[in-house]
């Protein structure tokens, strides 16, 4: 079975800690797949393996049927993998608009020479990038703050800005690392709507990591549960919710 993203028996070890052990995970085009698990279960490590920040010790990761081994992080972005960060990684001392323009720049053919001499192509690309960035900000309701510094925004807006920036690279696969962290119940409910809208409008497939069970249960088509680096359960939301192993991992021993 090959989907958009496939992990086969991925393992990684940090010193004495087995962070991931034989993790196999499959994401099919168009799905929103959830990945849940207690703190320290290895969720962010898994994301780092997928984006190429970390290299798994063993196992294979394929994207659209292509083996990602040895493919650098920025090349993976070009293949269509985008992500958001749990600990927000915005370009803080840049404006909201600039944050969203950077991924568009990354894909544009402009060179420093074209920039220095303001060649017509550079000016055209600049306008194009700005227009597209503004459209994305409009989509995520950030247009009003486009000229503010990213670091000055409230957390809820910063999370949306991370989404806008991730979408700016026109991804096929979006990895969301705890997008609801720091959001209140109302904001989390809105986030779920936004995620559905993103799937609808951009046709983006998503892999969602979050602690917020309500969000994950509501949005995901398929859920994997990770505990101590192992997948302990997988299936549709209702199956995972009732799995005694999952309940045990989250709540401890159940009498």
């Amino acid at each position: 079975m090959t989907g958009l993203l496939d992990l086969y028996d991925v393992s990684i070890r940090f010193g004495g800690v087995q962070a991931l052990l034989d993790v196999s995970l499959h994401v099919r085009t168009g799905e929103i797949v959830g990945l849940i698990g207690p703190n320290g279960a290895g969720k962010t490590t898994l994301f780092n393996c997928i984006t190429g920040v970390l290299r798994p010790d063993t196992g294979r990761i394929t994207y659209d049927g292509r083996d990602l081994a040895g493919v650098k992080t920025h090349r993976r972005a070009r293949l269509g993998i985008a992500r958001t960060f749990q600990n927000l990684q915005l370009f803080g001392r840049m404006t909201v608009l600039e944050n969203v323009m950077v991924p568009i720049d990354a894909f544009s053919p402009r060179t420093p020479v074209g920039d220095a001499f303001r060649l017509p192509t550079a000016r055209f690309e600049e306008r194009k990038a700005e227009e597209r960035a503004r459209a994305l900000l409009y989509f995520l309701d950030l247009l009003d703050v486009a000229e503010l510094q990213a670091a000055d925004l409230a957390v809820g807006m910063q999370r949306r800005l991370e989404l806008a920036r991730a979408l700016a690279s026109n991804p096929d696969l979006l990895l969301l690392d705890e997008p609801a962290a720091g959001l209140d119940a109302r904001e989390t409910a809105e986030l779920a709507d936004v995620l559905f809208r993103i799937r609808e409008q951009f046709g983006v497939t998503m892999l969602l990591v979050d602690h917020d069970m309500a969000l994950v249960m509501r949005t995901c088509d398929h859920i994997y549960v990770l505990d101590f680096g192992r997948i302990i359960s997988e299936g549709p939301p209702e199956h995972v919710r009732d799995d005694p192993q999952v309940i045990q991992a989250y709540l401890g021993e159940v009498a």
Binding site: L90, F91, E98, D115, R118, D152, S169, A189, V194
Partner: protein, 344 residues
């Protein structure tokens, strides 16, 4: 930026350029040559505006890159009778290439460790290329090594004022090009690398390529300064490009601030004219100049961490153009707003 602020900015730039052209016309030849040196030093500050201001990398070896430019231009023009412009082009490219080479080990470093690496590079240059024996053997001995001044479209640049206008013009063009870089994709991308390397690479930026680019551009500007300085002085002594010069220029770039293009001419003037003012009008000799710079550096780091020029520019702009009100508490995307905006 509002229209008001834009008018003020370009008026200030226009007045600055006019003063830069006119004032030296009334100065002595000695002060004119200092002004030329100030414009040349301004190019070195500009090289730090690119490297430190945009991509956040530290360098204590900018004068080593300048030495490459000076050495190349000097030996090609004086020793091999090359056309000045061609020699300058070769010198700039050579400096850029060495800058990229230095950047390769620097790729994985930042902050303190990068600073130490560049100190190593500068000391290596001091001990090897700039050592008397090596320097003289390349340049054919200081006595025979006298690159003449070029002419600019048939206009001779032997006069101090003509030569000053020439280097001032080059500084202005370089500032304009860096301004364009900063406001375009290149500046945005480099600042993104500075702000978060992990985010920059996950949105598709090749960190290696962009850091090498920044080092290359920065070293090219420093090499340009060196090449001009070789013909300004008419010789090049190794002592003008040593490690201490790189440290002082880095300190001055910090004092004026690497976040603004204007810092380049201001920093250059600071380096050349403050010692002269001290010598002429105060009981202190120019040997106290590093001391004065150090004191200013401390005050700047405490009271204007982004640098004096950057800070004053910001104050002026804020007065002209008060910042937008901060986002209100009710900033969340209500479902209605999001749906209204996203429905097709």
């Amino acid at each position: 930026m509002t229209a008001d602020a834009r008018v003020v900015r370009w008026t200030a730039v226009g007045v600055g350029i006019a003063l830069g052209v006119l004032i030296p016309a009334f100065l002595s030849n000695f002060l004119r040559s200092l002004a030329s040196d100030a414009a040349i030093a301004g190019l070195i500050v500009l090289s730090l505006v690119v490297l430190t201001g945009l991509v956040g990398q530290i360098s204590f070896c900018q004068y080593s890159f300048a030495a490459i430019g000076a050495f190349t231009v000097g030996s090609l023009v004086a020793g091999h009778h090359w056309e000045f412009w061609l020699a300058l082009l070769v010198g700039v490219c050579f400096a850029a290439a060495v800058g990229v080479l230095v950047a390769i080990p620097a790729l994985r470093l930042s902050g303190l460790f990068l600073a130490i690496l560049t100190i190593g590079v500068a000391l290596f240059f001091d001990r090897f290329l700039l050592a008397p024996g090596t320097w003289d053997s390349f340049s054919g001995g200081t006595s025979s090594w006298r690159p003449g001044r070029p002419s600019f479209f048939g206009i001779g640049l032997r006069g101090e004022y003509a030569f000053y206008l020439f280097v001032f013009g080059i500084l202005l063009v370089a500032c304009l090009l860096v301004w364009n870089l900063r406001t375009g994709k290149t500046g945005r991308v480099l600042r993104a690398v500075r702000e978060s390397e992990v985010a920059a690479s996950t949105v598709g930026l090749n960190l290696t390529a962009w850091k090498l680019t920044a080092f290359g551009i920065s070293a090219a500007l420093a090499g340009l300064a060196g090449g001009l300085s070789a013909v300004r002085v008419g010789s090049a002594s190794a002592g003008s490009y040593d490690f201490l010069h790189s440290v002082i220029i880095a300190a001055i770039a910090t004092v004026v601030g690497v976040g603004a293009i204007t810092s380049a001419p201001v920093g250059g003037m600071f380096l050349l004219f403050v010692p002269e003012i001290m010598r002429a009008w105060t009981p202190f000799s120019t040997q106290w100049f590093p001391f004065v710079t150090g004191i200013l550096l401390i005050f700047q780091l405490v009271y204007a961490p982004d640098g004096a020029v950057v800070d004053s520019e910001r104050r002026i702009m804020r007065r002209l153009h008060p910042p937008a009100p901060p986002p209100t508490a009710d900033d969340t995307a209500t479902p209605e707003r999001v749906l209204a905006r996203t429905s097709t």
